[in-house]
Symmetry: C2
Subunit: 595 residues, 2 copies
C-alpha cells in the first residue's frame, strides 16, 4: 500500500483552520484507483509522522470541494454497479405525509419534496430477483468485496480476516446499496471499538440545517456512525439531507416515522404502514435500522412494577400497541418478511432493546433478559436471510452488573456485534451523563461491545447542541480507545506512546496535534501560559520550572539511561561514576534544578 497525501497548507480550506496546523488528510491506496482510505497524518516536530484513523470524510480534505446542497460524491457507486446484482427501479412514490405534513395549514403550503433537497435526483436501487446482495451473503460465499478491502486497510488487517468475521456474524459492514456516499467501516469485537452519535430534530426544537451540521460536526470529532432520530416535521427531507452528506453509515428507528404517519396514535400503527416506512427509508439509503422486535406482549407485564418502566421510545410504542390490541407485536410476527426487505437493500439490523433498564434499580431484570433471549432467536433468523445484524444493549447498569450483560449477549446472540448505550453507572448526575455512561461504556467495550452509542451532557434534560455533540463524541472516543488498549488491539498503544513521548520531551505542539481534541488542549495550555515561548518551554504552569518532575527525570534518563542493551546493574555502576564526577567537580548534576 502506498500513501498518497493530500497535502494541507498551513491553513486548511474547511472552516476550522487553526486545528489543521500540524496534521493533514492523507490516503492509503488499495487495489484499485478509486479505493483510497482516508487517514489523519500528524506531523511531529521531530520529523516523525503518526497516522490515525479518520472519520471526518471529504470535509477535511482541502482538495475536495463539498456543497451540502449537492451532497458528497457517490464513492461506492461503481463498486455497487460493478457487482451487477442490483437494479434501479422507480421506487415508492413520495407522499406529503412522509414529511409529517399531513396537517400543514394552507398558509404553510405543501412543498414539493423533490425540490427540498436540491442534489441530483436518483432512482433507488435494490437486489435483483434472487440475488443476495448483502455483505454477509458475499462473505458467506467467500467473496471479498471492495468494501471489505477498504475496511481491511482502515483497520490494518487482511481482507480475508474482514470477510471471515462478517461471514461468522461477528462483525457487520453497514452499507445500503442506496448510500454510495459512505466510506465503509466495520463493527465487530475484533476490530477497533466504534462510536455512534445520535442527532435528530423533534417536534419541539431544531431544524434541518442544524441536524446536517451536527452530523458533519460529530464525524469531524470521530463519530463512526450517526443515527438520525428525528421525530418532528420534515422527517423525510431531513434524512435525505443527512444521507446525501454523510461519509458514515446512517441508522434510524423507522418506527418513529411510522408513528408520525398515524398522527402519534400507537394503536393505529399497522404492519403495512411500518413496512412502507422501512421501504421508504431503505430507498433513501439508511444503512442500519433499529427494530424493537423483541418487545413481546408477554414481556410487558414484567415491566409494570419497575422503577422506571420502559424507557426506550420504540419499546414503549410497541408495548402500547401490544397492550391496546392484546396481540403479539407485528414486528415479531412479520420478522421474516422484514428480513427479505432489508436483505434486498443490504440494510443492517440493529435489534433494539426496547426493555432496557432506565435506572440502576431495574438493571439486569427479568424483562431485560427475556427480551435479550428473543433477540438471540431473531439474530439467527436474520442471519439465515443473509441480513447483517447487531444487537442493542443497555441502559442504566451499575458496574458490577455490566459484565453479565455482554457475556450473556455474546452467548445468546452467537457473538453478534453488541451495540450499547452507555451503560450509565449511576442515576445521580443529570448534566454529566456523558461521564456516568462513559465509565460503563469503557468497561463494556473492553469486555466485547463492538460499538458504543454516545450519551451527551444533555441526556435526560434536553436536545444536544453543537458543544454537547462534541463533548459526547470525545468522551466516547476516550472510552473506545481505552477499551482498544485494554483489549490489546494491535497498534492502539502507538497513539498513546507518541503523545507520551511528546509530553516527556516537552514538544507541546506535538502534544496538541496528537490530542483527541487539539483545539481544547491548546486553549487550556494557553489560558495559563499564553506566550509563544511557553510552547517550547521545558516546564508548564502546573509546577513551574523548579518542580517539574519531567525535567528532573529527563536528566536522569539522559545521564543514566545507558545504551539500549544496558542492564540495571550497568546503569547503577554508571550512576555511581557520575556521582563521583559530581563530587569532584563540585558542580551541580541537576542543571534543571538550578533555574
Amino acid at each position: 500500500m502506498t500513501l498518497q497525501d493530500a497535502r494541507t497548507p498551513e491553513n486548511g480550506a474547511n472552516g476550522d483552520e487553526k486545528s489543521q496546523i500540524g496534521w493533514h488528510k492523507g490516503y492509503v491506496s488499495g487495489s484499485r484507483p478509486d479505493l483510497r482510505v482516508p487517514v489523519r497524518r500528524v506531523h511531529l516536530t521531530n520529523g516523525k509522522d503518526v497516522t490515525l484513523y479518520d472519520t471526518s470524510g471529504p470535509y477535511t480534505d482541502p482538495n475536495i470541494e463539498t456543497d451540502v446542497r449537492r451532497g458528497l460524491a457517490p464513492l461506492r457507486e461503481n463498486w455497487i454497479i460493478g457487482r451487477g446484482d442490483t437494479e434501479e427501479y422507480s421506487g415508492r412514490p413520495l407522499r406529503p405525509e412522509d414529511d409529517g405534513l399531513k396537517h400543514t395549514s394552507p398558509r404553510g403550503g405543501l412543498k414539493n419534496l423533490d425540490a427540498v433537497f436540491p442534489g441530483r435526483p436518483r432512482q433507488p436501487r435494490r437486489g435483483r430477483e434472487g440475488a443476495a446482495v448483502t455483505q454477509l451473503a458475499y462473505a458467506q460465499r467467500g467473496e471479498i468485496t471492495t468494501e471489505m478491502e477498504y475496511v481491511a486497510l482502515r483497520e490494518k488487517v487482511t481482507p480475508e480476516f474482514v470477510r471471515d468475521e462478517i461471514a461468522a456474524g461477528r462483525a457487520v459492514l453497514p452499507a445500503n446499496v442506496n448510500h454510495p456516499e459512505i466510506e465503509p467501516m466495520i463493527i465487530g469485537k475484533n476490530f477497533l471499538v466504534k462510536v455512534n452519535a445520535n442527532i435528530g430534530n423533534s417536534a419541539v426544537t431544531s431544524s434541518i440545517e442544524e441536524e446536517v451540521e451536527k452530523m458533519t460536526w460529530a464525524t469531524r470529532w470521530g463519530a463512526d456512525t450517526v443515527m438520525d432520530l428525528s421525530t418532528g416535521r420534515n422527517i423525510h427531507t431531513t434524512r435525505e439531507w443527512v444521507l446525501r452528506n454523510s461519509p458514515v453509515p446512517i441508522g434510524t428507528v423507522p418506527l418513529y416515522q411510522a408513528l408520525e404517519k398515524v398522527d402519534g396514535k400507537a394503536e393505529e400503527l399497522t404492519w403495512e404502514i411500518y413496512k412502507d416506512t422501512v421501504i421508504e427509508q431503505a430507498e433513501q439509503g439508511v444503512d442500519y435500522m433499529t427494530v424493537h422486535a423483541g418487545v413481546l406482549l408477554r414481556y410487558v407485564p414484567l415491566t409494570a412494577r419497575r422503577k422506571t418502566g420502559i424507557v426506550s421510545r420504540g419499546g414503549s410504542i410497541m408495548a402500547a400497541w401490544c397492550l391496546a390490541h392484546h396481540q403479539e407485536s407485528f414486528l415479531y410476527t412479520h420478522f421474516e418478511e422484514l428480513c427479505e426487505i432489508l436483505a434486498s437493500y443490504d440494510v443492517t439490523y440493529s435489534l433494539g432493546d426496547g426493555l432496557r433498564p432506565g435506572s440502576i434499580a431495574d438493571a439486569n431484570d427479568e424483562a431485560q433478559f427475556a427480551e435479550l433471549r428473543t433477540l438471540g432467536e431473531l439474530n439467527t433468523i436474520a442471519k439465515r436471510h443473509g441480513v447483517q445484524t447487531m444487537i442493542e444493549g443497555p441502559g442504566h447498569v451499575p458496574m458490577h452488573k455490566i459484565k453479565e450483560n455482554i457475556d450473556l449477549q455474546q452467548e445468546i446472540c452467537e457473538e453478534a456485534p453488541f451495540y450499547t448505550l452507555g451503560p450509565l453507572t449511576t442515576d445521580i448526575a443529570p448534566a454529566y451523563d456523558h461521564i456516568t455512561s462513559g465509565i460503563g461504556a469503557a468497561m463494556i467495550a473492553w469486555w466485547g461491545t463492538a460499538m458504543l452509542c454516545y450519551v451527551t451532557p444533555k441526556e435526560h434534560l434536553g436536545l444536544p447542541d453543537r458543544d454537547d455533540v462534541k463533548t459526547g463524541v470525545i468522551t466516547y472516543k476516550i472510552a473506545a480507545h481505552a477499551a482498544d488498549l485494554a483489549k490489546g488491539h494491535p497498534g492502539a498503544q502507538e497513539w498513546d506512546d507518541a503523545l507520551s513521548d511528546a509530553r516527556f520531551e516537552f514538544r507541546w505542539e506535538d502534544q496538541f496535534n496528537l490530542a483527541l481534541d487539539p483545539d481544547t488542549a491548546r486553549a487550556f495550555h494557553d489560558a495559563t501560559l499564553p506566550a509563544e515561548p511557553a510552547k517550547t518551554a521545558h516546564f508548564c504552569s502546573m509546577c513551574g520550572p523548579k518542580f517539574c518532575s519531567m525535567k528532573i527525570s529527563q536528566s536522569i534518563t539522559d545521564r543514566f539511561g545507558g545504551d539500549e542493551g544496558s542492564t540495571p546493574e550497568e546503569i547503577e555502576a554508571g550512576m555511581l561514576e557520575k556521582s563521583r564526577e559530581f563530587a569532584e567537580s563540585g558542580n551541580r548534576v541537576y542543571l534543571p534544578l538550578a533555574n
Copy 2:
C-alpha cells in the same frame, strides 16, 4: 439520633442562592451537644425527604456566620482538650523563609508572618511525653473517640465498626490535634469512597485568596479532603488560611516547601531541613502528609528507560537527591524518627508513589511495584508507631492492568487504605483527563480503593481554575458513587432510586435538587424548555409529548401494575381485561398518545 434542622429560607444566605431552593443543611445529633453531623436534606415535592452526605462545612448553614479572616470555629477543640493527653507548647519560631521570602527584594518588604492571617493566635499542641494521641492508638486500645462516633453517624455504621476498622489499619481518620476546625471523616474500603481535590499556587500563577476560595468551592461540590500543593511564595501563609478555613482534612507534600527553603536545589536538601518543615506544618494542623519514602536509590535506574521516567514531583526530587549523593533517601533512613513526629500530632501518612507510571507504556513496571513493596514495609513500621497510614497509587494504567494494582497493594500493605490518582486509562486526551481518569477511578474504587485523588480537565496543561475544580470534583463524585453502588454499600442506591422515581414521575424540580449538580442540571433543562410550565410537563424536549417513553410507560404501570403482591400472571390477566374494556368502549387506552 435526632434530626435538628437548620431551616434554610427559600434563598440561602451564602451567595449561591438559587441552588439552595429545595434543600437545606440539617444535623444529626450524637451523644453530646457539640456532636452534630451535617447532612444535606433534599425536600421532595411529594413530601418525602432524602438525606445526603454533606462535605460543605458551615458555609452552607445560613445560621452560622463565617469570616475567612477569622477562620472556622474549632469544633474539636474541647474533644481534644478533654482527652487530657496533649499539651500546648511554644512551638517552632516562624521564619521569613517559611514563606519562601528569603530573596524578597527590599522594595517588596518582609511581612510580619503573624499578621498575615488575622485570626486569633494560638499555641500549637502535641501529645504529652509518653502519650499515644493518634486515632489509631485510641482504637488499638479499644477506645471510641468522639471523632469516631461522629464518623459513625456520618457513615450510618456503629462506632464500634469504625473503631475496629481503624484499629486494623484498614481505615484512617485524619485529624491533626492542631486542626480542630475539621468535621471528622474516615477513609477506608469499607466506608463510602472519598474524593480529594488538589489546590495550590505555584511560582507561576495564582494567589492566597484564590486558593482559599478553591478549597471552599471544592468542598461545596463534595471534596472530602483537600491537598494544598502550593510551591511558590507565601507557602506558609497560604496554608494557614486554608487550614483555618477548612472543614475537611488538609494534606500536603512537605518536600515541596523544604525544597523552597533550599532555593530549589534538590541536592542541598537535608533531613534537618525536611524535619523542620514537617514540624512547622504539623504545628499548623496539616492532617496528612505525602512522604515519598519508597523511592530508594536502587530503584532509580529502573526508571531510566521508561517512556516518561519519573512523573511525581516528590519522586523526582528524591531521585535527584539520591543520585546526587549516591546515598539512600533520608526519608527512608529517618523513617522511624519521622513516625515519632507524626504520631505526636496525629498526622496521617500518605505514603507517596514517587515512581508511579506517567504513561500507559510504563504501567505496572518493575520500578512501580518495587516501590510498592517498600511502601508495604514502611506501612508496617508506621503502624507499629501508632501512625495512621494510607498508600498512594497510580497514575496512568490501562483498564486491564488496574485490578493488579489494587490487589497487590491490598496484599502487600495489609489492606491499608489505597489512595489513587485516577488512574488515567489512556494518554491521548489532554483537556479531558478528568474523564480518562474518571473511568479508571470508578473501577479501582469498585475493587477497593478508599480515596480517589481528583484530576481536572487542566491536568498536564495548566493549573485548574474554579470551573476546573468543580468539574474535577463532580467527575470524581460520580466515580466514587458508582463504586459505592458496585460495592453494594448500604444505602448508596437510595439516592439513585430517589432520583429515578422523580424522573419517572416527571418531578423535574426534585430531579434537579437531587442531582449531584443541581445548578447545571436545571440550566441544561431550561436551555431548551425554559418556560415554568415545562418544569411540571409530562415530557421533555428530547422526544416531545408524543414520543415520551416514560409517559407511555407510566400509563402501563398505572393500568397494569396491579397491587404490590400481584404475580406477572395476575397482571397479565388484568391486562387482557383492560384490553377488552378498550375494545368495548371504542375508546383509546393510551390517553397520553392522544396529545
